[in-house]
Point group: C2
């Protein structure tokens, strides 16, 4: 864990290196730009105890795949896995002082600091190392993964002899001998691959330039990694070394005491997912040359400018709690590092910081992460939704496999759109993902009024998801002929394969009615696009009438006696979990109880109905939300990292401010404090965005309904003041809340009327 | 398929060899004795087109095991597979006429007949073969798997030159290069093993004797296969040939025209499951020597005597339908061939005739097969129940894994007692297996009054299964505080993970109340055994009271409006399957629809509630049974081979005699006519026993309740007469039914009063 004694509002800092913290800190100090991700591994490698570290470099959406083995197969199971690959290790820089190799675990570390600055986007490491034979050197390393140049990683490696002059060797390499983590028993990580799946197809090595071209085993994707160097030193020679899976350049330097040697290393990654096969290597080489031409200082400046703009639109300030301030900025920074911005990639559950969940995209994006981008950097949220549009064909195929005659069924977990969930009760059965995506389209339109998106992408997503629900559900006689959705799993994975999951039905209703509304709007306002859509999708009038009928007759489980919404048809027929006799070490329950045991009880992994009431807050009375909250809170383990943020927002709304604050604290520093114990496998991206929602939608009380941005701020006792920024319909609004009240500043855009609680406020 | 033009009442006959029928006929002509099974493969092997045959020799309960791979793992999943192994091929006899090797697919078959006689227990093959070069030979082969000597297979191989004199070579071998079938996409077969799992540890070869000792890869079981020969020929020499995985004896014979050469081959199989490691080979050698000493003719006589006794107790005669008569005798013969009789093994779903379902034991034994043995050969049914007693420790372990503090949970599918089901919704979730076993104990006691079994085995099974249900269920407030059993799967696997499966609750009620009754009886009548039981199982008074309370408050789903028992809590909330739009080729549904699609609909793979009403017939009114039958019949696909027999019995009781007869026909010749299309993978053992139940419990109307054997016979129009035999409380009763009435003959035992419908009849 990052040391707390050095809490910094704009950075994280580590002052002491401990192998036992290494694995987690590799995640926390990871760099990324939404395309490339590099764990906070050391350039020289790490040879600590087994299981205390994982070298990892990842490219968003770059995966290999193999046939999924099932103990017992059934029709329609996901056929192939997709695993985001650990790619060529480009950051390798090994240092030799005379005949002694530098390592954090040999000799003596006389001084150490590692930091990651959110304004600069630079990972820094400063060490004074005393070798076993007594030679002292100062080592300063700076690393960046460029936000402006998505293919580029750059490292500045500086070595200064403190108590000697003599030979220093720096060996910089591209190492193609990389594998993914394999695990046998944690469903939250995934099986990985046995052995190496990247074969080396080509190598280049000349002077101080080198490149490796590798190919994936089954998907046959091509990957190039190129490097170039600039060395500032007086006297040195160069050796080029080619191994089977590695190219290295060795710089043999005659170093002088107190005189710095500086090696700048530029690395570029390109793949056949972005370029034609024959261009992949060429592009890597041209990208790396351009970066070198630009130079390390200029790259740092670009990075700073990019982040300046980002924070201008995004920053949240909390006065009165430095550790929270640090947590929330860290989270926003990591979200930026995680988000694919090309319409072809999305946000993996763990960003690009680790191998948990195999680099898959889930509903996390639409329900948890998208709001953050939508209300701060809406162009990124559009790209995320374009990804969903781009995988529509695969979602249509999947719907056919699942016997749906019409519509599209999005994969529960995927990289390229194909269903990769190998456990359908907590996978394919989560049909709510369709409604989640439709809901995100709706939110996006509310906040942006982006006509171009709607006619080119959004409408089609809405039609295809609505169709699926229309085919999935049925007007069931025994349920008063209401429209029922059977045999699905809701967000709470501690119940599975239920009828009428309340969340699913509520969101499906939104999906159906919004699709209806949008198609009507197109017909009346965009006849040309409407006609194209009707033709392309063979959309029929009756279908739309069915959506309308299904939406208005949607079955919503409700228990009159308890005055609560049961999570599903049979939730109240189960016995409550025996929390009193469940030892602490038995959490998360999924790691200690068979699914049958969990499913048999009233127990929730995460917010389910409570989430629906947060998303559709205006559709429920405060009294109802309170009843439901009180009922579900005591049954919820929060074993999922998606839970506490939602409970915080719900608690805020009801006025349970202490609870709201407590949940918020748990949320805001989840990875920094490794509270779930598995941050080593990567950040919890959805939870990070949940932190933002807690503050903006929870304490800030921000909602959009009836075409109005509405705010209802509350300030926790512990804080002096807080402020946040909202992008809304081409405006950028800064909202500041202190003990006296709320103030607004329109930073960009035309004047606009918003609501503070019931009161209209004109911002100009 | 066996040709129908040669219907024989006591045998099956094939008159023409067709490669396209080979695979199925290998199953139909399989021999076994409950310990050993040999598919009806030819001694010389088979080189027909790929996928038209499978060499197979199996030993009941002899398996290898490997770690089950899951796409996504969860806590408590079955860890290791168990697959009944295809063992050393001991029957190999190759024939060479001069330089030409005999094969059914070369030269010309001038005459051919293969037959299996149920009174003799001998598989015979008679061929006149013309070699490609024009040499004609008559080949007669007889094979038996001894019922009296469980380790022994014997073959008599006779060759007669018809149109030449010259050299004939017969090569007899033990071939250790054997593997199991592997399949990727049929859950009804199982994955099998990649490659060979039996390694050769030792070989013996001297004169005309040989042996192979092999070991399984993971379970490390030892297996010996020994052979000896007797050749009747005038002039010959012998070669011993040792290969890496095979030992062979070649007989080089100077044959004379029209003079028969006869080779008798004796083979014995022994394993470390029956003997100490060091004795395994010794025992195989002594067993094979004893068999040779006995001689082929004597072995045949023994076989005949054994079968004489079997048919005396078991035979069913139907006058007026030869093909039915053949079917029902074939089925009973195959059941005898399948049943483990040592208390350590049981009856695999496919007997010992194929690799379907990996040689696993299921509830099929207790609910379908046990009644056949119980009412004909009760000592075999006792051995089958002793097997369940012997695996109680593993069932206890499994209960703990499934978080049950007390009791035992039997594995859904297993060989040695460990859960091997890799798909828990249609595996572990089928908790009804516990109640099925308890129900079998109850039926066994009713029919035998076997005090010794009850005190030594039965009571403990009853207590441990009752305890499990007591822990599993709960008095649920929303269900009127009735005792509910949630999140289980009933017999019908087209619904899964439901609450209050009616069958499960009904049978669990029997389990709880019978356990209560038996323990009270022990307390009052067998104090010594009662005290031992209480001590061993730490049985408490409160527990028993809970069983009683749970039984009397068991929740039984009932719909007042429809006047039917819903299969489970939510069965009526689903939409009925669209049978009208389901093409014929889409059956069985499980091979063409994702489980979610199936589970979402009202559709049954097999009898579920109807089965419960057959088993507990006296507890339901005729009117109720009719309502339920009418409701479920139209929703049932009979995709399971366990279905039609139950519908036949139920239809009989209600008076739907045409339906009853139609279902019976489908049942009685299921394998002979390969109506399910997968008899190649082995017989459908449970269905075979179902045939017996159709006749005895269906048409014969045999039931036992209120301590009385009750009979209510009906004779189908097509039949002149039928008769069957019942073993009941040390009596053997023959019941004959014709158009005029029913007659009884007490073949063994003291006089007894039985009921024919309401009327008491004294048999003496």
């Amino acid at each position: 864990m990052v040391q707390k004694n050095k809490t910094c509002q704009w950075c994280i800092i580590e002052n002491e290196f401990k192998p036992e913290d290494n694995y987690v800190n590799e995640t926390l100090f990871a760099l990324g730009n939404g395309y490339l991700g590099v764990r906070g591994n050391f350039e020289e490698g790490y040879d600590g105890p087994k299981g205390t570290g994982l070298e990892g470099t990842y490219i968003n959406g770059f995966y290999d795949s193999e046939v999924i083995k099932y103990g017992e197969i059934a029709y329609g199971y996901a056929e192939k896995s997709q695993t985001m690959l650990n790619v060529t290790d480009g950051k390798v820089i090994k240092l030799y002082i005379e005949d002694e190799e530098f390592s954090m675990l040999s000799g003596e570390i006389l001084a150490y600091e590692r930091s990651l600055d959110f304004k600069e986007g630079i990972l820094k490491r400063n060490i004074i190392w005393k070798s076993p034979k007594g030679k002292e050197v100062r080592i300063s390393v700076e690393r960046l993964v460029s936000f402006n140049r998505k293919h580029i990683v750059a490292i500045q490696y500086e070595v200064t002899p403190i108590n000697f002059s003599g030979s220093i060797k720096i060996v910089s390499a591209l190492d193609g001998e990389v594998t993914n983590l394999t695990t046998e028993n944690d469903p939250r990580v995934g099986a990985g691959f046995k052995g190496r799946v990247l074969s080396v197809e080509d190598k280049r090595l000349a002077n101080t330039s080198g490149a490796l071209v590798q190919r994936t085993k089954n998907t046959r994707f091509l990957l190039a990694c190129a490097m170039q160097h600039q060395l500032k030193a007086d006297s040195y020679s160069i050796d080029c070394i080619e191994d089977e899976l590695k190219v290295s350049v060795a710089f043999n330097i005659q170093a002088e005491k107190n005189k710095s040697i500086i090696l700048d290393k530029y690395i570029a990654y390109t793949t056949s997912k972005d370029f034609k096969e024959e261009e992949v290597l060429v592009k890597a080489e041209s990208e790396v040359s351009a970066a070198m031409l630009c130079g390390f200082e200029k790259l740092k400046e670009e990075q700073k400018e990019f982040l300046h703009e980002f924070w201008y639109r995004t920053d949240i300030q909390i006065e009165g709690d430095d550790s929270l301030q640090q947590g929330i900025r860290f989270n926003m920074f990591q979200l930026l590092q995680s988000a694919g911005r090309d319409g072809k990639t999305n946000i993996a559950a763990k960003g690009l910081t680790g191998e948990g969940y195999e680099g898959h995209y889930f509903w996390d994006t639409e329900i948890y992460i998208l709001p953050f981008f939508l209300y701060t950097n809406p162009e990124i949220s559009r790209k995320l939704l374009e990804y969903r549009y781009n995988i529509l064909p695969k979602a249509r195929d999947r719907a056919r496999v699942m016997s749906h005659k019409k519509g599209a069924l999005y994969a529960w977990r995927t990289i390229d759109g194909e269903e990769c969930s190998a456990y359908y009760p907590a996978g394919t059965a989560q049909y709510h993902i369709n409604a989640d995506i439709a809901f995100a389209v709706k939110r996006y339109m509310e906040a942006t009024e982006d006509r171009d998106f709607l006619i080119n992408f959004g409408a089609e997503i809405l039609v295809e998801t609505a169709r699926l629900f229309a085919d999935l559900g049925e007007f069931i006689e025994s349920k008063d002929n209401k429209f029922c959705i059977n045999e699905v799993t809701g967000p709470d994975e501690y119940s599975a394969l239920v009828n009428n999951n309340c969340y699913t039905n509520l969101l499906a209703r939104e999906n159906l009615s919004y699709a209806y509304e949008v198609v009507l709007w197109l017909r009346d306002n965009e006849k040309e696009y409407y006609d194209k859509l009707v033709e392309k999708l063979e959309l029929k009038e009756e279908e739309m009438e069915l959506w309308k009928k299904a939406a208005s007759n949607m079955y919503i489980p409700y228990n009159e006696k308890l005055k609560i919404h049961p999570q599903d048809d049979s939730f109240l027929d189960r016995k409550p979990w025996d929390f009193a006799n469940t030892p602490k070490e038995n959490y998360p329950l999924l790691m200690h109880y068979h699914p049958l045991v969990i499913y048999r009880h009233q127990v929730c992994k995460q917010a389910d109905l409570v989430l629906a009431e947060v998303l559709l807050s205006h559709k429920f009375s405060l009294e109802q939300k309170k009843m439901d909250y009180d009922f579900y809170e005591k049954l919820t383990t929060h074993d999922s990292s998606l839970s506490t943020c939602i409970f915080s927002i719900a608690a805020c709304e009801i006025g349970y401010y202490d609870k709201a604050y407590e949940y918020f604290i748990n949320t805001a520093r989840m990875d920094l404090d490794n509270t779930h114990g598995n941050s080593k496998d990567g950040i919890h991206a959805a939870n990070m965005a949940g932190t933002w929602m807690c503050l903006v939608n929870g304490f800030g009380g921000v909602k959009i309904y009836n075409d109005k941005l509405s705010i209802a701020p509350y300030i926790p006792d512990h804080w002096e003041k807080y402020s946040f920024r909202i992008s809304y319909r081409n405006r950028l609004i800064k909202i500041s809340v202190d003990k006296k009240g709320t103030s607004y500043k329109l930073l960009e855009g035309d004047s606009i009327t918003i609501l503070e609680r019931e009161k209209e406020i004109l911002l100009s």
